[in-house]
Symmetry: C2
């Protein structure tokens, strides 16, 4: 799957992943009203609305970006109905030929991590393996160490999927734990060594492993450092755009061939209509708002091209 992801990035000439992290207030009021009229102002109504919103964005960007990254928390907030919308969003994006990175940040001890690994590894029921979640990649949390990650690595190997392990996250307080110095080395570099060891047997044709790392765009110096430390580790890079990361800051996250990472933008793409004067009347315009997302994704492509 890592080779498929790299192939899709090359084909589209765009290392952008669109974060599908909807909130009610970023959805045009016309769409909102329509969904609430049909389904009620309920969790079900929000779920249907998110799905409509996501499908419009996916349709608008599927030919110009390689991947989407739905953030499950935004759906989990709306309970079962919300998670239903998450699952359907993943399925829809895959139908449209996109690679799907499920941003689920799961992590637990051995047998429990094995259960979570169903996200990429499927679930055995009645002797058959059923793919109930369908993500191609998921994000995972390393705080519990190797026995919490091994089941995800095993599932990735068996099903040709992948994971991105949190190494250096984009938020400000990531420093509290991740930057602590252990004999002069920050914790995130020690986690990076673990990521390297977890992924060493899953390196694909492009030289990158199915075990990747999350490295925030807000930390350009650490990006350079980690790129050198982890020549076989693909990076998922959050924090571009709304969180302050810029294309020019990201040069060091790429390798000498201009691959090596995929950069996420969520709000900057999916809520682009809010800040785009061309779309000032969008609340009345059905799903036309998604054209602003396309425009933003193309602008991001240009911005990243300058960095590569």
């Amino acid at each position: 799957m890592i080779d498929q992801l790299i192939g899709a990035i090359r084909e589209k000439g765009n290392p952008t992943v669109v974060g599908l992290d909807p909130t009610l207030n970023m959805i045009p009021s016309g769409l909102r009203e329509q969904a609430f009229e049909t389904y009620g102002e309920t969790a079900r109504g929000v779920a249907e609305l998110f799905l409509t919103f996501n499908r419009a964005i996916i349709d608008a960007v599927a030919d110009i970006v390689p991947a989407v990254k739905p953030q499950i928390a935004m759906y989990e907030r709306y309970g079962l109905d919300g998670i239903d919308a998450y699952v359907k969003t993943v399925a829809y994006a895959k139908e449209k030929g996109l690679v799907v990175i499920g941003d689920i940040k799961r992590g637990d001890i051995a047998s429990t991590a094995e259960a979570y690994a169903a996200h990429i590894g499927g679930t055995v029921i009645g002797g058959d393996s059923v793919d109930l979640w369908k993500e191609d990649f998921i994000t995972v949390n390393p705080y519990l160490g190797t026995d919490g990650i091994a089941p995800f690595v095993k599932a990735a190997a068996e099903k040709k999927r992948g994971i991105f392990v949190l190494v250096k996250t984009s938020n400000r307080s990531s420093a509290e734990l991740q930057d602590l110095l252990v004999e002069g080395r920050p914790v995130y570099r020690i986690v990076a060594d673990l990521v390297n060891s977890w992924g060493k047997d899953l390196i694909g044709a492009n030289g990158y492993s199915a075990v990747g790392a999350v490295v925030g765009a807000t930390h350009p110096a650490q990006g350079i450092e980690l790129r050198a430390q982890l020549p076989h580790t693909f990076f998922l890079v959050p924090g571009y755009g709304a969180q302050g990361g810029k294309g020019a800051d990201l040069k060091g996250f790429f390798d000498k061939d201009g691959i090596g990472c995929i950069v996420n933008s969520s709000r900057g793409i999916i809520a682009a209509w809010e800040k785009d004067v061309e779309f000032a009347n969008v609340p009345k315009l059905g799903t036309d708002f998604a054209l602003a997302s396309r425009k933003a994704a193309l602008a991001m492509k240009s911005d990243l091209e300058a960095a590569v």
Copy 2:
């Protein structure tokens, strides 16, 4: 809620939480066959089976234990149907007067953590706060630092619920990150300081905060050390029983008044019928298997009484 939990522990004289972590192979074959006949050997069938299994256990132990801890991974493995069984398990346990600790180990950056906080904080829909998940406490992961935890603390404060932050987990490879030494102090003690600061404004009538810590039973020395470091932090203690922790090892997790922690047992209680000769014929006996769970919970109570 921390005062309610402590009250329930005192009332029942039992600091045991029953881990509701079902797997197919620990459920008596008679029950399994019945569920699959009715609902099919499908995710839905497994979900209904888990719910029947959990309800039988809850009915059998509700008067002798203060709390249950469903592990969401075991349900998430079965997709939407599985999560439906999780939600219904939480609701059923609360109906029966039990405190519910949702073992969900969530954690993300600020706005995303806020979405996950719906588990204890509810979800605003149409101007009303709706409680879609209903857990009293949840477990959370500290790897992202304060801005990833603050939304959970806020929700706990507003809704009088609580969280348990992973500090020192019960699994063997917890040492890889959690025991790294930073100027001579292990990472888990630095996380413990953070837990203390996150919880300092939420200390209840019994002297314990709504922000608790997860400390594994498999680390008795660290338990003593953390008990001294965190006088206002209640501990959720996994790793008893199947993972090797014993009552005698846990003395140091309690305070001088014999409170301060709640000890989890999952397989040791819910799958007790498998190893109990009295229940050799249980596959034919409907939900009688749960009497073995009651017996095991009472045995654990005695074992812990010796420690307190």
